[in-house]
Symmetry: C2
Subunit: 295 residues, 2 copies
C-alpha cells in the first residue's frame, strides 16, 4: 500500500492543501489567507478529514511564504520571522500540524519548494543548480543545488536586494515597508499598482511599465546568474504571466551581462536560461509534496 502524503502551500492570498497517494491527488482545497488562527485551523481540519477518509498521513510537506526560521536547532524553528504580512509574525507553522496529525512535518520556503519541484518535474529537470523566482504580491527566490534547497542562515530572501533605478522611475519611493525601493519595493504587483494605478495585465502591452519593471527584474536575473550561476532561472508568480515582461527581463539581463563570463549578450541567448515555470502555478504544491516524499 502506497503512503498517504500531505502537502500545504501557504501563500499570501491563499493556502493550498492537498493529499496524494501513489502519485495521485486524492483530495485538495484552497483556503483564503486571513488571520493565522482561522487559516491554520481550516488547513488542519482539511488534513483531519483526509485522515478520517484515507488513514494516517506518512508525512506533511509545507511550502510557506517567509521569512521563516528553518534552523532545525533553533527554539523558534518553523515560525515566521518579522514579515510585512499582518498578524503572522511569530506564527508556528510546524508544531500544530506535527501535534495534531501525528506525522513528520517538513517545511521549506514556497520558492525553495517550487525550485525543487521544477528541478524534479518541471522546467529545470536535469539541472544541477536552479533558481525559482516568484514575482507577485511579494518577490522571493529559492535555490536548489545538487537536489537540495539552499536554506543557509536564515534562507534566501532575494526579493529585497537593492537595484539601480530606471531613469524614468527615479521619483517613485517604493512600497517595501523595510527597504522602500528594494526590488520588491519597485517591481512587485503592489508596486506596479501604486505607480501605474493598475496591475500589469490591465495596462497596454506597450506601456512603459514593461520597460521599467523589466529593468529591475533583469537586474535580479543578472545578479542571480553572476552570484549563483544556475543552469536555469524560472520566473513564476502572477506578475510574470506577462509574456512581454519575461522577454524584457531577458533583454535587460543580457544588456547588463554584456557577454561576460560565457553568457551571450543578446536576449535570445538567455531564452533557455531564463524561463517560465514548467509546472505553471503548481510548482509550490508539487514542491510541498516532494518535501513530504523525502521526509
Amino acid at each position: 500500500m502506497s503512503a498517504l502524503l500531505g502537502a500545504m502551500e501557504a501563500g499570501g492570498t491563499k493556502i493550498v492543501c492537498a493529499a496524494s497517494k501513489g502519485g495521485e491527488i486524492v483530495a485538495q482545497t484552497r483556503i483564503p489567507t486571513r488571520g493565522p488562527d482561522a487559516t491554520l485551523a481550516a488547513a488542519l481540519a482539511f488534513f483531519e478529514a483526509v485522515i478520517g477518509e484515507h488513514g494516517d498521513l506518512s508525512a506533511l510537506g509545507i511550502a510557506a511564504f517567509g521569512p521563516l526560521d528553518l534552523r532545525s536547532t533553533s527554539p523558534t524553528f518553523g515560525r515566521l520571522l518579522g514579515t510585512p504580512k499582518h498578524g503572522w509574525a511569530g506564527t508556528d507553522l510546524v508544531a500544530p500540524f506535527a501535534r495534531r496529525l501525528g506525522c513528520p512535518v517538513v517545511i521549506d520556503t514556497d520558492v525553495n519548494a517550487a525550485a525543487l519541484a521544477e528541478t524534479m518535474h518541471g522546467a529545470a529537470r536535469g539541472c544541477r543548480t536552479a533558481v525559482y523566482v516568484t514575482v507577485g504580491t511579494g518577490i522571493g527566490g529559492g535555490v536548489v543545488v545538487d537536489g537540495r534547497t539552499l536554506r543557509g542562515s536564515p534562507h534566501p530572501e532575494m526579493g529585497h536586494i537593492r537595484v539601480a533605478r530606471h531613469e524614468r522611475d527615479a521619483a517613485f519611493p517604493g512600497v517595501c515597508p523595510f527597504h522602500g525601493d528594494c526590488l520588491e519595493g519597485v517591481a512587485s504587483g503592489p508596486a506596479i499598482v501604486a505607480r501605474y494605478g493598475a496591475p500589469l495585465d490591465a495596462l497596454p502591452s506597450d506601456h512603459e511599465a514593461i520597460a521599467v519593471v523589466g529593468h529591475y527584474l533583469g537586474q535580479l536575473a543578472a545578479n542571480v546568474l553572476l552570484m549563483i550561476s544556475p543552469e536555469r532561472i524560472i520566473l513564476g508568480g502572477g506578475v510574470m504571466s506577462s509574456e512581454p515582461l519575461l522577454r524584457e527581463t531577458r533583454t535587460a539581463a543580457a544588456r547588463l551581462l554584456n557577454g561576460y563570463g560565457g553568457y551571450g549578450a543578446s536576449a535570445a541567448s538567455l531564452e533557455q536560461t531564463i524561463v517560465a515555470p514548467g509546472l505553471g502555478e503548481r510548482s509550490g504544491i508539487v514542491g510541498a509534496l516532494v518535501l513530504a516524499e523525502r521526509a
Copy 2:
C-alpha cells in the same frame, strides 16, 4: 609514504606554486604573471623540479582567476573565457599540466578554492554555506555549499553585479571594460586609483573613499546574504586589508538589510557574519591543495 600534492594559485599579478607531502610544504615559488606561455612554462618547470627531487605528484590542484570554463564535458574545459587580462583569453590551464606532469589535475576558481580553504581550515570552519570575496585588482566571489564549490554554468562572477551609485560618486564612469560601473568597475583597486589618485592604504583614514567603496561592498554583502544566505562572508584581497573599509562594509550592509529576515540592523550584529579571512593571504593556495587532496 604520504602522497606528494601540487598546488597552483594563478592570480592577476603572480602565480604561487607549492608542493606538499604529509601536510608539510616541501617547495614553493612565486612567478610574476606575464604572458601565458612564459608564465605557465615557469610553473611547469617548478613542478618538474619538484618531481625530480621528491618523486611523482599524486595530483595537482589549480585555483585560477576567471572566468573559466569548468564544465567537465565542454570542449574548452579548463580554458580561460573572455577576460580583461591581456593575452590570456582561451588559455588552457589544465591540459599542459596533465600532459607534462602525468597526474590528475583539478581546477576551480581562485575564490571558490579560497572559500573551500576557509570552510576547512579558516574563518568559516563548521559552516554549511560560506562565501569568499576578494577585492583587489578585480572583484570575485566563491561559494561553498555543503563542502562543495558552486560551479554552475559557468561559475559565480559576483564582481560584475550592478550596484546603486553613491550620491557623491554619481559622475565616475567606472573602469570595467565590460560593464563600466558594475561593482568591480567602481570598487576594485584600479577604480579607487582612477577616482582618488591613490590606493586606499595611501589615503587618509577619514577619506570619503571609505564611505563610497564601503557603500558598494555593503551592497554586495547584503545581496550575498539575501541571495545565498551563507553563515559567513569572508572578505579578502588587497583592498580589504583596510580595517575601516571592513567596518564600513558591515555598516552599509546592515543599513540596507534594515533588520529584515533575521539579520540585525546594526553593523555590530554582522561582526560574526562579515569577516576577514582566517588564512590571511594563503586562502587561495591552501584551497588549491585541498583540490589536489580531493582529486
